[in-house]
């Protein structure tokens, strides 16, 4: 089985798992959910690290570095701001 087919299986199953856990998040937490999910989409940083590490030309190197910088804003900012919001939620 090709790597792409395995990837497709993984993608579909991960989507279903995601749908299952996310649909249980109550409306009151939808903004933190979104900013947290946003931070997770910064996983692109992993891809950027891989391509930047293998860079064979300056263009590739700079694209990789740009990818790392953008994704890191996403990851660090996303998790921090989500935590800042969740700290404010308190019970009576």
């Amino acid at each position: 089985m090709s790597e792409m087919m395995i990837g497709l299986y993984v993608f579909v199953l991960a989507t279903l798992a995601g749908k299952e856990v996310i649909s249980k998040v109550p409306p009151t937490l939808h903004t933190p959910l979104m900013s947290g999910a946003n931070a997770i989409s910064g996983i692109a940083v992993v891809g950027a690290l891989v391509v930047a590490g293998q860079a064979n030309t300056p263009v590739v190197k700079w694209l990789g570095a740009a990818g790392i910088a953008m994704a890191t804003v996403n990851v660090v900012g996303g998790f921090m701001v989500t935590d800042r919001m969740l700290r404010m939620f308190r019970k009576d």
């Binding site: 990837g7 991960a14 903004t31 989409s41 692109a44 891809g47 950027a48 921090m80 800042r84 919001m85």
Partner: protein, 460 residues
């Protein structure tokens, strides 16, 4: 065990931490731990990747990480909670941009020789989704921030222009996917995708932004998943799929709350300037208006109060004054709770965050389904800066907003509506609620009116 197996097991643990972290977000009590768990998952994925790959140019990698971390940390610490939708839009855009950059770098790296068909297709997909997310998010940011007009921008031949652009993207995308290693063609594709992102978001009105931000959130995940396919990296595919699913669920919820289809939001140009011409001339019928003292009396001697906050509350920055009023009522033994419509803010759950910031406990915030059965037994409803979401016309099949889920505030004994004027809401239709016998209109800027109300409740 060799190191490759260990690395895979570590990434599997990271995937588990991502999913279980999101699961912990299902309760405010565990949500903070869930967020921490997801960030741990990210750390594991990054560390494994760094150890697995020979990083040849450390200075540029370290510099980029430092730059990104400083910028992200600064934004996260300083952003005002009212501006959260803008921040999420920017972060979405950067996530999409990062994915597009990865796809582009991979194309350029392979560019010397012929690109394999499968690789070409995933690179095209990653570039397209990533670039549309990047530019679309920044237009959404501009609209939310008020830099770009919040109105739905329409112009002649709009759909034709989009269709031509889209056709061009398809042709170039197909050629690249089939293995054409032409870098000019690739740059043209990325450029066209950036333009498409702008053109897709421009015609969408400001009040539809909750849908747009949710959808772009989904795209940023899908873009990451696409780069996972490009690089054959499973953790990218898994995390990307999770975000894609999350954004899609929120998009559906927002569409349902606004009683619109996604196609209607995307192409309906709702809230275009032309719509104002059809707006109902409001304020011809008599209303019962009250001042702060009268409103305070009604509230202070009620047994139960439900506050319905709308975006107008956040615009006026009146949530802290509102909290003061609620505390005073609390001290008098009045039960105060909040009824929150899904589109009360500019993104899903936005109002809940604003109220949490003002120190309102989350167990007092009721969502649409929880609060609607409660209105029958409620003495007073205080509507602040909300309009369409409490318009009983939604129950009339003839109305423009027929079928939209609303808060049934008119079922309460008394309704006090705090509002600047009688003007129509976003849907452009008059609100019958304002003219009903059990409704009192309390006109004024929400912040000033709320602090007047606090003073009067204290004296009541």
């Amino acid at each position: 065990m060799n190191t490759a197996v260990i690395a895979h097991l570590a990434l599997l643990a990271s995937a588990f931490l991502f999913v279980s972290g999101i699961k912990q977000l299902s309760s405010p009590a565990t949500a903070r731990a869930g967020n921490a768990r997801a960030s741990l998952a990210m750390l594991v994925a990054v560390v494994v990747t760094l150890l697995e790959n020979q990083v040849l140019n450390w200075p540029s990698v370290a510099g980029a990480v430092l730059l990104g971390a400083l910028a992200g940390g600064f934004l996260a610490r300083t952003i005002r909670m009212t501006a959260m939708p803008q921040l999420v839009a920017v972060f979405n855009g950067l996530g999409g941009g990062a994915s597009a950059a990865v796809a582009g770098a991979e194309f350029m790296r392979l560019g010397g020789g012929a690109v394999a068909v499968g690789d070409g297709a995933t690179i095209v997909l990653g570039t397209l989704i990533g670039a549309v997310t990047l530019s679309g998010s920044f237009v959404a940011f501009g609209k939310l921030q008020g830099i770009v007009t919040g109105a739905a921008v329409t112009y002649p031949l709009q759909k034709t222009a989009n269709a031509v652009l889209f056709a061009g993207i398809l042709v170039a995308g197909a050629a690249l996917a089939a293995g054409d290693p032409n870098p000019q063609m690739y740059v043209a594709l990325a450029g066209a995708a950036l333009v498409l992102g702008v053109l897709l978001v421009l015609p969408i009105g400001g009040a539809d932004m909750p849908v747009v931000v949710s959808l772009l959130n989904s795209y940023s995940g899908l873009a990451a998943a696409a780069t996972g396919f490009v690089l054959g990296n499973m953790i990218l595919i898994i995390a990307g799929a999770l975000v894609g699913a999350s954004g899609l669920i929120l998009t559906q919820l927002m569409c349902k709350a606004m009683n619109r289809s996604l196609a209607n939001v995307a192409f309906g140009a709702f809230g275009a300037a032309a719509d104002t011409a059809t707006r109902v001339e409001a304020g011809r019928r008599p209303v019962r208006d009250v001042d702060a003292e009268q409103a305070a009396m009604v509230l202070a001697y009620a047994g139960s109060v439900v506050v319905v906050p709308g975006y107008g509350l956040a615009v006026a920055q009146a949530q802290h004054e509102l909290k003061k009023v609620c505390d005073l009522l609390d001290e008098r033994g009045v039960t105060v709770r909040f009824g929150i419509h899904p589109v009360a803010g500019r993104m899903p759950g936005h109002m809940n965050v604003l109220l949490a910031e003002s120190d309102v406990p989350y167990d007092r915030l009721l969502d649409l389904d929880e609060v609607n059965p409660e209105f029958d037994g409620t003495d007073v409803v205080l509507v602040v800066g909300a309009n369409d979401v409490v318009n009983p016309a939604a129950r009339d099949p003839q109305s423009a907003i027929a079928g939209m889920p609303i808060l049934d505030v008119d079922r309460a004994r008394t309704v006090i509506v705090m509002k600047r004027s009688l003007s129509a809401g976003f849907a452009g239709i008059d609100n019958d609620l304002f003219y009903r016998e059990n409704t009192m209109m309390f006109f004024g800027d929400a912040r000033q009116a709320m602090s007047d109300l606090a003073r009067e409740v204290r004296e009541a």
